[in-house]
Symmetry: C2
Subunit: 319 residues, 2 copies
């Protein structure tokens, strides 16, 4: 359950005490402590590393601040900008993330998996070229039309970065990894096939020998649903927009699916939360499935509602 | 071509001269002048009224400013908020929009249609409850879980408003109307069937006797593509994410489709713009089709590129 930490009181206290998000990300002891909180306080069955999608991009030499979302001082827009990027070595430049993974792995019971994570190459490109969040991320979409060769060069470079970063996380103790492709919904089928699919596939292929399950999370983008089965991941994580029955119908019962409760469902009554969760549990009964929200937890979600949800899922598993 | 005005020099001059967007919307002579600009300067084949999706919401008594996007001083979140809304009469409260439609109709050659417009009920609700633009509009999505009866009450009220507003626009001179459902992509199939479909259908049914073609534009939301044919519109306008061939395959060649060039394609070279446009023209050849962009024009789109696109489409039509 991504971003579960931010609804927890101890997290908010840490955040207030230390001020900047970057300091929390970059201090392995703090990042590890935050990663463990949802296990202890919510009872979820897996931990996901407390880091950010844009974290590895800073290692390219791109100055990053939070205001309050990620802001790059110099968006990457030209060939000269791309030529100026550093060639990062995750073991050095992102050592603080790997150290956090290591600390979490040592602290977790062996039955609780740690999930590492990175953005998909297309999504990383949308952030790096835009420089900050923007509706529909027009800057990189502009580049795929105005200079497709340059867009491919950037995607190639980001594919290497994501691959090496995920490999390093697995070597540091993550038993599974999730690739977050949160901008992928912007692409038509032809665009997805050209600017996303080959690159995500390369990331997945590069990790094959490590035998760690790869979860692919494409946010939105139902127009490419059938193609999401071709990226080479072991599990497909779906947001709340997709009907699980339809997805099992498309992929067959052999493709494990993750998700896909609408995070806004947690604003409902206890009865409506239980009903919504049970609906998903019934749809996926007898099929390979990992229960999860269909997107990150909203920061004003009541903590007790999340605990209730976890209980509902655990109780259903025992019936 | 929605928002085509904003790339035009005479529009920018008017905008600078008069300062506020609201003043341009609310002065019928200015709104009419801006509506006509793309006809004269770009050579497009139809005019779309210069107004905003949120315009009719102000007539509910909701104070609206632009900073720079629409901001409602008091977002509508509770039953008390809904009880406090005025029951607007478009002919009085939105007379300035109708007067602009009237002026445009009188100024346009009879062969050039004027398209009126309103937001779909669900989309209007996302803006009114959120109060301003927000990623994924969580406020109204929260309400559909926390108080679905209240959400339905608001949708019911906004359905009446959209119906009466569109009827009044047709009576004032619009020969067709377009319903913009720009937030609809947020909904799962079950949510679309409950919180969107019945309301858009009611809007379409309420206009049936007027014999004006209704164009439905659902932004994103491929997970509900097949349901978009059931709203009761005469034309389905698709954004750039949807493959036209796939859509014709789904709806058959009897459903007229509108769209769907990626507006970012206009950042490409002349050759790549022509190629992208011709691809769509070939896909739709022999099928009922209205060429258009798949979303609004980006403000920094070069004006001459848009003119080139219009020429490419007109030349193809003669082959």
């Amino acid at each position: 359950m991504r971003q579960a930490g931010r609804i927890l009181k101890p997290y908010r206290e840490l955040r207030q005490q230390h001020g900047s998000l970057l300091k929390l990300f970059k201090t392995p002891e703090l990042a590890a402590e935050i990663t463990l909180m949802p296990i202890d306080l919510l009872g979820v069955d897996a931990a996901i590393l407390f880091t950010d999608l844009v974290t590895p991009l800073e290692a390219l030499g791109c100055e990053l601040t939070y205001a309050p979302g990620p802001v790059f001082a110099h968006p990457i827009r030209s060939a000269a900008d791309i030529n100026g990027l550093r060639n990062p070595v995750p073991e050095d430049d992102l050592a603080y993330v790997l150290e956090a993974a290591h600390l979490v792995r040592n602290a977790l019971p062996s039955a609780v998996p740690l999930i590492g994570y990175a953005g998909g190459p297309f999504t990383l490109a949308t952030w790096l070229v835009e420089g900050s969040h923007a509706k529909d991320f027009p800057a990189f979409r502009r580049m795929i039309h105005s200079d497709p060769a340059l867009a491919h060069r950037l995607l190639d470079l980001l594919t290497d970065l994501a691959s090496r970063f995920l490999r390093a996380q697995i070597e540091a103790g993550a038993q599974a990894v999730q690739i977050f492709d949160t901008s992928i919904g912007l692409l038509s089928p032809a665009q997805f096939n050209e600017f996303a699919l080959p690159y995500v596939r390369r990331v997945c292929r590069s990790l094959a020998a490590l035998n760690a399950p790869i979860i692919y999370f494409p946010l939105a983008g139902a127009q490419n649903l059938s193609s999401f089965g071709r990226v080479g991941a072991h599990v497909l994580s779906l947001d709340w927009r997709i009907n699980l029955d339809a997805a099992y119908g498309l992929f067959g019962d052999t493709m494990p699916l993750q998700g896909n409760l609408d995070p806004c469902a947690l604003y409902g009554s206890e009865a409506s939360i239980a009903k919504a969760a049970q609906h998903i549990l019934k749809q996926s009964r007898g099929r390979p499935h990992i229960f999860n929200l269909g997107h990150g937890v909203y920061p004003d979600t009541p903590c007790e509602k999340v605990k209730l949800l976890v209980d509902v899922v655990h109780q259903f598993a025992q019936t």
